[in-house]
């Protein structure tokens, strides 16, 4: 039910991405010496953008039309492209995720020293670009904004990163460009594939617009093009190095929001526009995702560097989300989108603890060199444990409902794959508990006895993310309703072309 009436004359969706963009532009022109102002402005912009996302969510009418708050301005009329924004349940949840993570990332960026003005401008640009992708209903705008996020990602890693940052930034850029090549080809195919010559996703997604053969040919390039950013195995190579090299806030955004952009594209564009193509590829993709979930967890288990561990765990969790999508069932898709949200928040929390609270103090991420940190950083230990519990899918945390939905949905079509993917669940428990045990318990190395306490920004950011994980875990209703409403048309379109066949 709609909770707030928002004035239709105000372009709410544009504000969500314009606020961080405008603030980012402003701080880019401020001198680094005004760092206090820059940080305050940046954090405020993130908070306003997040608040607007909440407001729009409250103003969304689940009983109303599929896309709401639609804004349309002519842009390239000759090409059939327009500035077309609108949100459904899926976009709203993604917008909320972006707002939540951006606020935390901003709070954890207060200790960045050097070139503050550029850093904050890039961080805000990243957040603005992600919001714009989530609200775009025009494929061209969506892709332009999608490409725009590449620039701040690479520059943040290259300019403020740590471990082998040039290498990581280059690798990321190469993988992304390869994905983009597929996406651009796919977008052009879609444009010429229908007689309508339009980029309007509402029209492109209309029932039976493309012949089945066309759909089967172009589904895979689009899915994989987006999938590279979602970190699907075996195109995940950029993710561990990128996440580890990135400065803390950037790895939070990278794993928490950017990977979700890819998954969102898979769902919205690849599956949403080409359901018949998707139907042909569901089974092989589901196999890849189920194996990816297990492989990601197994590789996370093998890491000695705790940031690498979180990075590999992201690959496993994203595979689980995409498994929900390619299960083709409404339950599975709902679980998949919830997984995007839950994993986005929890991975931001884990990266925040590991990158900012631990590494910036200890200057090591090797689990063998850490230990006993609970004695000096009890709140960080609590935060990591809460994030870890959510990651393991313990009831009471957001991750549980996501995992539950994905496994439930996968069972409907691929029971055997549900069994395979389920192997990732205890493995996730294994590496998470091992990491907690190694980093926070046991003897405290003497060198770490005097580490400084958490700052207020660290405490607030961590508490913010952990509270959301718990709140969604304890009261999943509002979010699941929203998502279930959003995926319903996509699942129905898929069910029309690929009904679940009962087993012999």
């Amino acid at each position: 039910m709609k909770l707030v009436d928002l004035a239709p004359t105000i372009p709410w969706l544009s504000l969500i991405w314009l606020v961080p963009l405008a603030t980012g532009t402003l701080v880019a022109f401020l001198p680094d010496a005004r760092r206090q102002l820059i940080r305050t402005l940046g954090t405020l912009a993130a908070a306003v953008s997040c608040a607007l996302a909440v407001l729009v969510t409250l103003g969304y009418d689940p009983g109303g039309p599929r896309y709401q708050f639609v804004e349309q301005l002519p842009w390239l009329p000759g090409l059939g492209a327009s500035y077309l924004l609108g949100v459904d349940g899926i976009s709203l949840v993604m917008l909320l995720l972006n707002g939540v993570v951006l606020v935390a990332a901003a709070l954890l960026s207060w200790n960045v020293a050097g070139r503050e003005s550029s850093y904050w401008a890039l961080l805000l640009l990243l957040g603005a670009g992600a919001s714009a992708v989530f609200v775009s209903l025009d494929l061209l705008i969506l892709l332009v904004c999608y490409e725009l996020t590449l620039l701040p990602k690479v520059l943040l890693i290259g300019g403020w990163g740590t471990t082998r940052r040039e290498y990581a930034a280059t690798k990321l850029a190469l993988f992304m460009m390869a994905g983009s090549a597929l996406l651009i080809a796919g977008a052009i195919a879609l444009y010429f594939g229908s007689a309508m010559r339009t980029f309007d996703l509402r029209l492109l997604g209309a029932h039976a617009l493309f012949p089945a053969e066309f759909q089967q040919r172009w589904f895979l390039p689009l899915f994989l093009g987006f999938g590279v950013l979602a970190g699907i195995v075996p195109f995940h190579g950029w993710a561990p190095t990128g996440h580890v090299a990135a400065p803390t806030a950037a790895s939070m955004m990278l794993a928490g929001v950017m990977m979700k952009l890819g998954a969102y594209g898979c769902l919205r564009v690849a599956i949403g526009v080409l359901p018949a193509g998707a139907a042909a590829w569901l089974a092989p993709l589901a196999v890849v995702m189920a194996l990816g979930a297990v492989l990601g967890a197994a590789l996370a288990m093998a890491q000695r560097d705790i940031k690498f561990m979180v990075a590999y765990s992201s690959i496993g969790h994203m595979a689980l989300a995409l498994l929900g999508f390619v299960s083709g069932s409404r339950t599975g898709m709902t679980g998949g989108v919830l997984q995007l949200f839950a994993h986005g928040v929890l991975t931001a929390l884990l990266f925040g603890v590991v990158g900012r609270m631990i590494y910036d103090r200890t200057h090591t991420r090797q689990m063998a060199e850490l230990g006993g940190l609970r004695q000096v950083l009890p709140f960080a230990a609590l935060l990591f444990t809460l994030g870890g519990l959510s990651s393991m899918g313990i009831p009471g945390f957001a991750g549980f409902w996501a995992e539950f939905g994905v496994l439930l949905g996968t069972w409907e079509r691929f029971p055997a794959l549900a069994l395979v993917a389920a192997l990732a669940v205890p493995l996730t428990g294994g590496y998470t508990l091992l990491a907690i045990s190694r980093v926070f318990f046991g003897p405290l190395p003497d060198a770490l006895a005097g580490v400084p306490r958490l700052t207020w920004q660290e405490g607030v950011a961590g508490a913010w993310l952990a509270t959301i994980l718990l709140a969604v875990g304890l009261a999943p209703g509002p979010l699941t309703d929203l998502v279930a409403g959003g995926v319903a048309p996509i699942a129905e379109a898929l069910a029309r072309v690929a009904p679940v066949v009962p087993l012999p």
Binding site: Y167, L174, A178, A422, V425, G429, L433, L434, L503
Partner: protein, 664 residues
């Protein structure tokens, strides 16, 4: 209407509220944590007993809350106090309260009392929720929270290392969590299957609910995997949850190590309640098991576990590990009872076992507490070879422990006699000869290991040094007396001529045959004689050392399953690493090289980047992971790898079992 039944949700909510209060308590109020936990627990126990009486009088209660929407409908999470739930809450709530009262004394000098009581009260709340849940999803959620509390409490003394305790609590906690999680995730898949096939997770026989006749008929008739009926697969998946939680072979290996937790935790979670939840799960979903073809396998696993664990208990030298293997063995009795159709007897034995096993663990706690004062914290506080003669020094503990042991051994007219006899009688009168033989053998061994243990601990003279241990004082005395009274009397709830429990839970009344009762008693007495004869067995050399050889050593090390699991995990990790290397080399390496080559041809990328891409890229991840994989295998935390071996092995075994056993 009945006041207690009307507010039945309070039975679970009171401990939950206490837990929340304790967690939020300022640290200077910490000494109130224990009394608060006991107060909430006692109130919940009172309500539970009143509610159970009301249910026995014919009333039921139910309530629900719309909570978790699923995509295709709403799962309303609610509670329902029927006969089975009433019987269980009437046991769980009082036993929890009594054990927490004991813990006030036991944990009196621990600096983290609030943490302890915060977790134990949360555990009680979860266990009670699982029992009164009216649908499978809520039961699963509570089940998982119990597992989490178990993990937190086994590892409660996380700063202790493995030297004083074998293994270290941190490792034992992770091992327990991971192994039960293997069962849990299969349980979750069972839920997925049932939801998919029937569209409901609600316990009930009304149309549209899980146990509706048409739903059960559908489950029995529909194949879930080719050739396997959905009912059988669902029952097998649910049973996997039981095997993990109730420590049945081959997933039982976590329970002996779980003794690294504080002893009241062993009594509450790893003897009386949580481990019995697996048995409860099967009883709760019995219509599905009845519609499946796996009950013979359930009986076989239970019988095998009952005998195998009792045999291991005979040669243990650690006071608590004897009891842990005894718990595994007794849970095997219950599971076997479920398998042969005596589910009423299984629940009866669950309830009596909770009383006397909690008593035995608290007695062990009193002994360990006293030993700490006699031989010091780092001394052999749990080694029964260092005890002896405690009969004179700890008379109260001796008398109560003896009553608990006699009840467990099944001596008439104590509680264990009635419940065990009902299971054996059912097996003998229903032609389950193999199960009957196994259970009689297990009974013999039970009496034997108890006699050996009681002899070594309480008789002879004290072998631990000049200072002798003394009986506990204060809060630790009353629980021993209360539970001893329960161990003597609780069999009265289901006597052959007064079968209150069977009527309450709606189970078939167990038959009573004087001949079988006499046989069971004789077996127990013979076991006592055997135990006396073998009282000196396995007390000389340290057979638990990995290099010890021989049949006794094999038993002392629990059939060396841990080592087997460790080795198989090594192999599994090798496979994962090779796969990873292949993915890196064959796909990613080539891809990067291709992109790099193309870029080089175009001439847009500088030589330095080219270098990185062409030479560094392909090697980086593969090389790193190789090293790491080797490190994982070499590292000293072998116990955790045992657990992981189970994770991998368990699922594989399960798949093999599902495919081979269930094809009609």
């Amino acid at each position: 209407m009945n006041l207690a039944l009307d507010h039945a949700w309070l039975i679970a909510a009171l401990p939950a509220a206490a837990s929340l209060l304790i967690q939020l308590m300022p640290s200077r109020a910490e000494r109130w944590a224990g009394p608060l936990a006991v107060g909430a627990g006692a109130l919940a126990a009172l309500l539970a007993l009143l509610a159970a009486l009301a249910v026995a009088g014919g009333a039921t209660a139910a309530g629900s809350l719309r909570w978790a929407p699923a995509a295709d409908g709403v799962i309303a999470l609610g509670y329902r106090i029927d006969g089975l739930a009433a019987a269980l809450i009437a046991m769980v709530a009082p036993v929890s309260a009594v054990i927490q009262l004991f813990a006030i004394g036991y944990m009196a000098h621990d600096p983290r009392q609030a943490r302890f009581f915060g977790f134990t009260t949360l555990f009680s709340a979860a266990m009670l929720t699982a029992v009164i849940a009216d649908n499978l999803l809520l039961l699963f959620i509570a089940w998982e929270v119990m597992g989490l509390c178990s993990y937190l409490l086994i590892g409660f003394w996380y700063e202790r290392d493995g030297a004083a305790m074998r293994p270290a609590p941190r490792e034992a906690a992770i091992k327990a969590f991971l192994i039960t999680r293997v069962g849990d995730v299969l349980f979750l898949l069972g839920i997925a299957l049932l939801w998919h096939e029937t569209g409901s997770l609600h316990f009930g026989t009304a149309p549209g609910q899980l146990f509706a006749p048409e739903a059960l008929a559908h489950l029995a008739a529909t194949p879930a995997l080719p050739g396997i009926p959905a009912a059988s697969l669902a029952a097998l998946l649910l049973f996997a949850g039981t095997v993990g939680k109730s420590a049945q072979f081959p997933l039982h290996v976590w329970l002996p190590d779980a003794m690294a937790g504080p002893t009241p935790v062993s009594a509450l979670i790893h003897a009386a309640t949580m481990v019995a939840a697996g048995v409860f799960l099967v009883a709760r979903t019995y219509p599905i098991f009845a519609a499946s073809s796996i009950l013979p396998w359930v009986a076989a696993i239970g019988a095998l576990t009952a005998v195998g664990a009792a045999l291991v208990a005979l040669v243990q030298t650690d006071l608590k590990r004897v009891l842990a293997y005894s718990t595994i063995s007794q849970l095997g009795f219950m599971v076997a009872a479920l398998g042969i159709g005596a589910w009423g007897a299984a629940i009866f034995h669950l309830i009596t076992h909770a009383c006397f096993k909690a008593l035995l663990f608290l007695g062990a706690g009193a002994i360990i507490h006293a030993m700490e004062q006699a031989v010091g914290h780092d001394g052999p506080t749990q080694d029964i070879r260092a005890m002896g003669g405690l009969r004179r020094h700890m008379p109260l503990t001796f008398v109560t422990y003896l009553l608990g042991a006699a009840a467990l051994a099944g001596l008439p007219p104590l509680a264990g006699f009635w419940s065990k006899d009902e299971i054996v009688a059912h097996a003998l009168t229903h032609g389950a000869w193999g199960v009957a033989a196994a259970l009689l053998a297990a009974s013999l061994l039970t009496a034997a290991y108890l006699t050996r243990q009681v002899w070594l601990v309480f008789f002879g003279s004290f072998r631990g040094g000049a200072t002798v241990p003394h009986d506990a004082t204060g809060a630790m005395r009353l629980p021993l007396v209360l539970l001893a009274a329960a161990a003597v009397l609780v069999g009265g709830i289901n006597l052959p001529w007064q079968h209150g429990l069977s009527d309450l839970i709606g189970a078939e009344v167990g038959a009573f045959h004087p001949g079988i009762a006499a046989l069971a008693t004789l077996v127990a007495l013979a076991g006592g004689g055997l135990g006396w004869a073998l009282r000196g067995i396995a007390t000389d050399a340290d057979l638990a050392q990995p290099n010890a050889r021989g049949a006794l050593a094999l038993l002392a090390q629990g059939y060396r399953l841990d080592m087997l699991y460790r080795r198989s995990f090594g192999a599994a990790i090798d496979v994962a690493m090779n796969l990873r290397r292949w993915v890196d080399r064959a796909i990613i390496g080539r891809l990067i090289a291709l992109v790099g080559t193309t870029a080089g041809l175009v001439g847009r990328i500088t030589a330095s980047i080219d270098d990185i891409v062409l030479q560094g890229g392909a090697d980086l991840a593969g090389r790193g992971v190789d090293e790491l994989g080797g490190e994982v295998r070499r590292s000293a935390t072998g116990r955790i790898q045992d657990a992981l071996a189970l994770v991998v092995g368990g699922v594989v075994l399960f798949a093999v079992a599902a495919v081979t056993l269930l094809r009609p």
